[in-house]
Amino acid sequence: MAPEPPLLSMSGITKSFPGVRALDGVDLDVQAGEVHCLLGQNGAGKSTLIKVLAGAHQPDTGTIHWRGEPVTLRSPIAAMRLGIATIYQELDLVEHLSVAENVHLGHEPTAAGFVVRRRTAKESTAHLLKRLGHPEIDPGRLVGELSAAQQQIVSMARALSHDVRLIVMDEPSAALDPDEVDNLFRIVGDLTADGVAVVYISHRLEEIRRIGDRVTVLKDGRAVAGGLPAKSTPTRDVVALMTGRNVEYVFPERPAAPGQGEQPLLHVRGLARDGEFEPFDLTVRPGEIVGLAGLVGSGRSEILETIYGARKPSAGQVVVAGRPLKPGSVRAAVRAGLGLAPEERKAQALLMLESVTRNVSISSMSRFAKAGWIDRGAELGAARAATRELSLRPDNPSVPIRTLSGGNQQKAVLARWLLRGCRVLLLDEPTRGVDVGARAELYAVVRRLADEGLAVLLVSSEVPEVLGLADRVLVLREGRVVHTAPAQELDEHRVLDLVMEGSPAS
């Protein structure tokens, strides 16, 4: 295409892990100044490919050319020296260090070679944050105190603190609000205008249309298409390439009036937590899916966690099937039949050193145990059945969960509650990081569970998801429920208006 050599050209990259060939001869070309999107299902190898590019994994075979020269990326530092910066899927900031310390970690500005010049570090950090559209983040604050979206910005600042020519972003938008996503795209635009190349990974196809120049599609560790035009390739084709089949990206049909005439399974009365959300009421009947829409920080996760007993309410009550729950007790909630798929799966849900089986069975161990003695055959069988139901890959629950791709880890969390057979399912961002095909499957599973009589409470930053899946929607703004309506009566614009303005203007 272009006469000069591409900025980056990877060819024939393979990478195997014990039992899995994650990459199987992948080629990738990136030109300076372009946004090159990587698409692929969960486990296709996207994260592995960019870890090779970042010097975090060594490829088994294959060559990498950087501005026409062959290079070996032996370590993350080597990649950074060349000007390749990476923002990983799982944020990798040090929570106990300040924003400025995180941004300059490993390349602190120093005087006399070892005294850290903290003022300089702070000033340059403040400058970077301003450039990223977030001057309100104080460089002196601890990263642990920031919201997920703000942490994302800090990661980005860290990437930009180097002299970069290529930035890799692995699902950067997953934790962001529509507003934040706009801001992210503005930053991407600025970067490419300066000639910086961006490799962008996302499961949201509409984003790729908006900012992408070219697309490379991975499937089962192979590049099935390289450098397609991002704007003009039909969605149908892209999805077919990714999945190898035709997926209608649609929501399951709603029953006409789910749970009508039945007693609510979940009844929340005047529940509140000081400083987080104001008193609100909520009922979910068996068979019903209720959605909570709102911006990040509007108190949605806090609400779910309070219902679940993981946080103690300052007022109000949670009633399950007519029985009030002991406030602030997860065990009481689980015993009453509640299940939570939390927002931060790595921190709140997974035992990273353990197998998939053990992660799935953790909440139902007593079912497989007599007098504390676990029947491991029964446990494995049940875990396998639950993970198959969700098409989790690889189809072998004995592997360690840390070897699964992000979306498949999410499925393992859902499998946990599928196995437990809970009555009320609380889903916090259930499709974060889940690919198109698997999403449709997840939606179908959630609807089927509801049809079987579960009550489902769903939180999602993706408004179409809430509207498409839920029967009824509660719109939240700054910890207050500002609107409740059947999902059919709302559309995306109206919800966004409500979420931003809070005034039910019609």
């Binding site: 997860v330 939390p342 498409g468």
Partner: protein, 339 residues
């Protein structure tokens, strides 16, 4: 907006039997590498012992002595392994052994005979474990601090009880078990107790819900809590378990030495932690191995024995132990990163 959807099924459903076997074998291999390397070290030590002191070291009496000495610290290490696996630490084990051994050998206790001594040892161990557990699980204290405080107080109390004197045991039943040629079911009684504790510990950690919860709490306490596990109660049980092991160890020590002393169990905490770590239990929690811990104990005890037979000073011994800890951890890091 809503359309019927047939949940797409496809590639993901394809069963890949090929993937199953290697992954499973990979896990086995990893466990084996660690265990085998520990067995290798142990074998090497036995060879060294056999070469330097062929007559003394390989004598049945001596090997029996090694096992008997390993039993006391071994029982403590089994309890410690559980605590470390759960992400905690118990610095008070040595002090609890001391306190239990002197409390169980006071003149007043000895009046109640064999049962009195056994019962008191176990009860004192459990009592100390209970205090540790309550402070940590429900008082929110850091394990390091809580058990450090217990270390200091239990040692102090032990000194107060004995006033620094050795309390000789006069109960025949106990003294008989300590005889050189006492055997129960063909094995020295202490070794039998150690074996039983090891087997129970292994089953508890690997085959029961208790073990699973221990690993879950150590691996990710918040995730365990949100999965419905009572993390605090589990922590309480774990320190109780460690205390119980200390009580049993104290009883074994009484049998072995025919006495109770406030200096008993000196530095057991270090030996037990070191044995667990070189065995492969993660100090940060989330993974523990009883087999590894037992091998760790045997390695340390064998070293001590070889050094004693060769008349080497205990300072040289300590240096060698330190070197072995470092070597073991380095080897493990390598095997962990290459698999």
């Amino acid at each position: 907006m809503t359309q019927p959807v047939s949940p797409p099924r496809g590639s993901a459903d394809k069963v890949r039997p090929a993937a199953e076997a290697p992954a499973w074998r990979g896990l086995m291999a990893r466990a084996d590498v660690r265990t085998l390397s520990l067995l290798g070290v142990l074998a090497a030590l036995i060879v060294i012992g056999g070469i330097t002191k062929p007559d003394e070291f390989l004598d049945t009496r001596n090997l029996q002595l090694v096992l008997t000495q390993a039993s006391v610290i071994g029982v403590v290490t089994v309890g410690m392994t559980f605590v470390i696996t759960s992400g905690g630490i118990d610095l008070s084990v040595g002090a609890i052994v001391a306190l239990a051994s002197v409390w169980a050998t006071t003149v007043a206790t000895q009046e109640y005979g064999f049962g009195g001594i056994l019962f008191t040892s176990v009860l004192v161990g459990l009592g100390c474990g209970l205090v540790n557990g309550l402070l940590i699980a429900y008082g929110g204290m850091v394990p390091f601090i809580a058990t450090l405080a217990m270390l200091a107080s239990a040692r102090g109390l032990a000194l107060q009880i004995t006033d620094g004197r050795t309390q000789i045991v006069t109960v025949d039943g106990v003294l008989d078990l300590g005889e050189r040629d006492a055997y129960v079911l063909g094995v020295p009684p202490l070794v039998l107790v150690f074996a039983v504790v090891t087997i129970i510990g292994w089953l508890l950690l690997n085959r029961t819900t208790f073990g699973r919860r221990t690993v879950a709490v150590g691996g990710n306490a918040e995730a365990a809590r949100l999965a419905g596990i009572d993390v605090r109660r589990q922590r309480l049980y774990l320190y109780l378990l460690s205390g119980l092991c200390c009580g049993i160890a104290a009883f074994l020590l009484i049998i072995l030495s025919g006495s109770g002393q406030n200096t008993n169990g000196n530095l057991y905490e270090l030996d037990a932690i070191a044995a667990a770590i070189i065995g492969g239990t993660l100090l940060s929690g989330g993974r523990g191995t009883i087999v590894g811990s037992v091998l760790g104990v045997l390695i340390f005890t064998t070293i001590t024995n070889i050094f004693a037979l060769n008349n080497l000073q205990s300072d040289v011994q300590q240096i060698a132990k330190g070197a072995i800890i470092v070597a073991a951890v380095l080897v493990q890091r390598r095997t962990a990163s290459t698999t």
